[in-house]
Amino acid sequence: MSPVLRAFLIISALLLLAPLLFPSVYYYRIGVLVLINTLSVTGMVVLLGYVGLVSLGHAGFFAIGAYATAVLPAYGIPPILTILVGAIGAALVAAFIGKPILRLKGHYLAIATLGFGMLVWMVLSKEAWLTGGPDGMVVESIDVKAPFELLGIKIKTAIAWYWICAVAVVIGIVLATNLANSPAGRAMRAVHESDVAAASLGIDVARTKLTAFIISAVYASVAGSLLALFNRYVTPDTADFLHSIEIMTMTVLGGASSVYGALIGALILTSLPQMLTVFAEYENMMFGAIMILTMVLMRQGLAPAIAQLFSRGRK
């Protein structure tokens, strides 16, 4: 079975079966948040896992999507289309800032992306005329039940959102898996492991990094748009440093090298704070500790460890 088909089947099955475990509609809401985070993290898997770059400002791209969806309907662009506009905007911004900073190595990129995220946050907080300032702004709602009703299905809003986001995640994961096993993805993985060797084969290292950076920015932006539509409200916190850290932590916990890691990381770190108040209370410490412990004890993250468990079981 090809890796893409396998990812498609496994992820679809998981998302189809998950609602069987939901005791109430509230869990669909958590499910939606998990899925939206999975989408951001899948983008991060492309960046960190495929090409090996750290971004500490991905919330900035997430916020670009979220605010595109919040702001643009007032200018006559239909909400659904704002997802696309936001994604294009995020891609352009990523291309613009990525070009100079991706020539440089690890630390510089980390800091520059961190600065980028804070810059976005700053603009969103200070330009109140456009963004509503620190209090945020209301997002025009869309009727997510409509497509289901068209098929004659009566459905609650949260549940409709769950299925829409599930489709988005499956698409996102299939695209990322396709990429991993394609010429472009191979170039990314080559750059990750040895940029000198990659360059000696004609791979344009800077360009390859930039491509991954742009792709990951688009994932984050689409996730941001979905969250804005789902919450019907956005605040500058979407661009907050901590949000970038959240995305990062989910990525490393799940395991940056595979898309399965994205789902696992997002699932654990989205649902735990919702269910355990202790976790929410000590969120910073928890995230920090998880990052350190994962890197020290289990550098590949959970997904490879779980995969190993399965393959051992089969033997």
Partner: protein, 290 residues
């Protein structure tokens, strides 16, 4: 004129703080090639601990050393528990670890202390001194003096002491340093301890002017990093001058352009340096061996 001088004073004051942060970065970078993203948290540990101790009646001369010791313990623990076990790991791993440490320490301070903004009175009172029609806080002199002293001690330490030489040797070739009988682990531990002390001292001195809170570390680290980049990564003199320059740029941005975007000045500098001057003012571009 008086306005200009005023901006210079405030720029020099915050610049000296950034310089101290940058010096802390430089120490660890020189010893280990790691940029410690939790450097800003050391500053906050220094400021917060002092503030809370003073508020509970401990005199400053006792509170300040306790705060610095607290930061040193944090720095050494960080090295022992998180950096040492990951020695030889890819750079990305080390970056994630120090980011994790930064977030962890931030959470720890939020838990141990609180989410309030803290400050305490300046060491020599709050009565500002008028110079050219501008007001200079006596604490600013403490801050500037403190940074200079730290800088001089650091340069002396790195170039004139055995431990300092060990740090430099460890950074240039860890294997050779080991062969020469240098205990590279304790050398790096020392670098983390000193770097934490440098950061905490900056926090102790700065808090009367800049205030502090559990989440102030990121921005502090970012500006310290901008300072280090501007000065040239790895160079103590570069860190000092870079810090002062970032402070001045920020003060003039706030004064003449927009105080809303004063924090953006540091990012702009980072981008400009990356673009036009990757080596910084005093740095050199390292040649990589293939």
């Amino acid at each position: 004129m008086s306005e200009f001088v005023q901006f210079c004073f405030s720029g020099l004051t915050v610049g000296a703080i950034y310089a101290s942060v940058a010096l802390g970065f430089t120490l660890i970078y020189n010893a280990s090639g790691v940029i410690n993203f939790s450097q800003g948290e050391f500053v906050v540990i220094g400021g917060m601990t002092t503030a809370v101790l003073i508020a509970s009646g401990v005199p400053i001369w006792l509170a300040a050393p306790i705060a610095i010791i607290a930061a040193v313990i944090a720095g050494m623990t960080l090295y022992k528990l998180a950096i040492e076990p990951a020695r030889g790991a890819p750079l990305v791993t080390l970056i994630i670890i120090t980011i994790g440490a930064s977030i962890f320490l931030r959470g720890l301070m939020q838990t141990v202390f609180d989410k309030q903004i803290h400050r305490y009175e300046g060491f020599s009172g709050e009565q500002s001194i008028a110079i050219f029609g501008a007001a200079l806080l006596p604490q600013s002199i403490w801050i500037l003096g403190g940074s200079l002293v730290v800088f001089v001690l650091l340069v002396w330490f790195l170039s004139r002491t055995k431990a300092g030489n060990a740090i430099r040797a460890t950074s240039s070739d860890i294997l050779a340093a080991k062969l020469a009988g240098i205990n590279t682990n304790s050398t790096m531990m020392l670098a983390f301890a000193l770097s934490a002390a440098t950061g905490a001292l900056a926090g102790v001195l700065a808090t009367p002017v800049t205030f502090t809170s559990y989440d102030a570390g990121v921005l502090m680290a970012l500006k310290g990093f901008a300072a280090m980049m501007l000065g040239g990564v790895g160079s103590p003199a570069g860190a000092l001058i870079g810090g002062i320059l970032i402070g001045l740029i920020e003060a003039f941005t706030a004064g003449y352009i927009s105080s809303d975007y004063k924090d953006a000045a540091a990012f702009l500098v980072i981008f400009l340096v990356l673009f036009f001057m990757p080596g910084g003012l005093f740095g050199m571009v390292r040649v990589e061996r293939v």
